[in-house]
């Protein structure tokens, strides 16, 4: 029983059934999970479902959006059956624009230097701590990193990971990258790649867990679909290839 509890505390079930099965029960609790994929590959949907599932279980969550206006985020994804408007009203799920956070900096100018990046980190940490946040998502990180001076982005992400780990806040960071580009360097405990494959001119959406610290996870590719019941997965059919 005690051993089971230790295992439970080490993992944070994302609540996304098809994903938790693949990653051995959930994300590392307090870890950073990097979800990389091209535009329209399902990153925002996955981040939103992670937060909505958490809110349903009483874990407060924040999504920091860097591209979409906050009021457009929920409209841009498939509406989950378990989503309730009261999650927003009661602030168990909050969506904010990165600009709101940047405005709080003493020098909110771009490019963001190392001091600015550390100030931004403090703002996020304070917000998380004051509001009792257990799940955080930044979607996508790419424009924010592009606004930072060379080297500051990596430092920011490293310190963010350390800070969230101290507070046991499980964090999802998404990044834009097309199929042929190398993955953006994000220090993370988990890495999930979303991509598209062509079959006879039709597109299949595929996810692959490349890394998930502390678990014997599947490395295979899975076809997924985003439905009102959440993200569903099934093994990619290879036909013996």
């Amino acid at each position: 029983m005690a051993a089971e509890k230790v295992v439970e505390e080490k993992r944070c079930p994302s609540g996304i059934e098809g994903l938790d099965r693949i990653v051995g029960g959930g994300f590392p609790n307090g870890g950073v999970i990097h979800i990389a994929g091209s535009y329209g590959s399902g990153k925002t949907s996955m981040a939103v479902e992670f937060l909505v599932r958490g809110a349903k279980e009483g874990q407060k969550g924040i999504l920091i959006t860097t591209t979409l206006a906050p009021e457009k985020v929920l409209d841009s994804v498939v509406r989950l059956d378990i989503f309730e408007d009261k999650m927003i009203k009661e602030k168990s799920l909050k969506i904010i624009d990165i600009e709101e956070v940047l405005e709080e900096l003493s020098h909110p100018r771009r490019p963001i230097d190392r001091n600015g990046a550390m100030e931004l980190l403090n703002e996020i940490e304070e917000m998380v701590s004051k509001q009792g946040i257990k799940r955080l998502a930044i979607d996508p990180i790419t424009p924010l990193l592009a606004d930072m001076e060379a080297g500051s982005g990596r430092d920011f992400l490293k310190k963010l990971g350390e800070a969230m780990n101290r507070r046991k806040v499980t964090t999802v960071i998404t990044s834009d990258c097309d199929e042929k580009s190398p993955l953006p360097e994000v220090p993370a405990d988990g890495l999930i790649r979303l991509s598209n494959i062509d079959r006879h001119g039709n597109n299949l959406r595929v996810l692959q867990v490349l890394k998930m610290a502390g678990t014997q996870h599947s490395h295979s590719r899975y076809v997924f679909d985003i439905t009102p019941c959440g993200l569903l997965t099934t093994p990619l059919i290879r036909g013996g290839h």
Binding site: N202, V223, D225, C229, L232, T234, I237, G240, H241
Partner: protein
Amino acid sequence: MTKEAVEEVISKLQEVGPSVATTFLIAPENYFEVITGLVDNFCHENDLGCIYVTSSVPAKTLRNALDSLEIERNHVKFVDCISYATMQNIQESDNTVFVESPSLLENIILSTEYLFKKNDGKKMVVIIDSVNSLSLHNDARMLTEFIQVLMSALKAREAYPIILGIGDQLKPDVMEALSLVCDQVIRIGNRTSNSS
């Protein structure tokens, strides 16, 4: 013969119960009656829901056909894999999920799973119509793996997994695949059957 064919199909299913992957190879003249027998008689007699995966005829056509026969079909949900591929008008509805092509086998599995999740826990019959049309769009190895994954998932859910086909028109490698991954392959109207 048609009435006997329907009775034979239903009796075979009653005999084995759920979680047995069964392929029925039917003569073309009995095909539609067997479908209506499954959707109407078998489902209503056993209080079952139905997921109907169609890769040959658009769901709309099937719905119209059932309506014209005054068959109650509120318990039937469709996975329509052919309307997109044949440029039909797509009408979104709660009881139909569209898959863009019969070659997107994984999406057929996911759509079936989705309909199971939307279902209120009722036991289900899942009809795959047909293995002939799926074999036109997929090679036998892909089809074998698809059937194996889908049948395993359906058996775990204690559904009645049923594959329909016209036996005389099937390629030998597809017949071999069916024998390999289904628990029983039954020719309706013919005494020969393969069971494993």
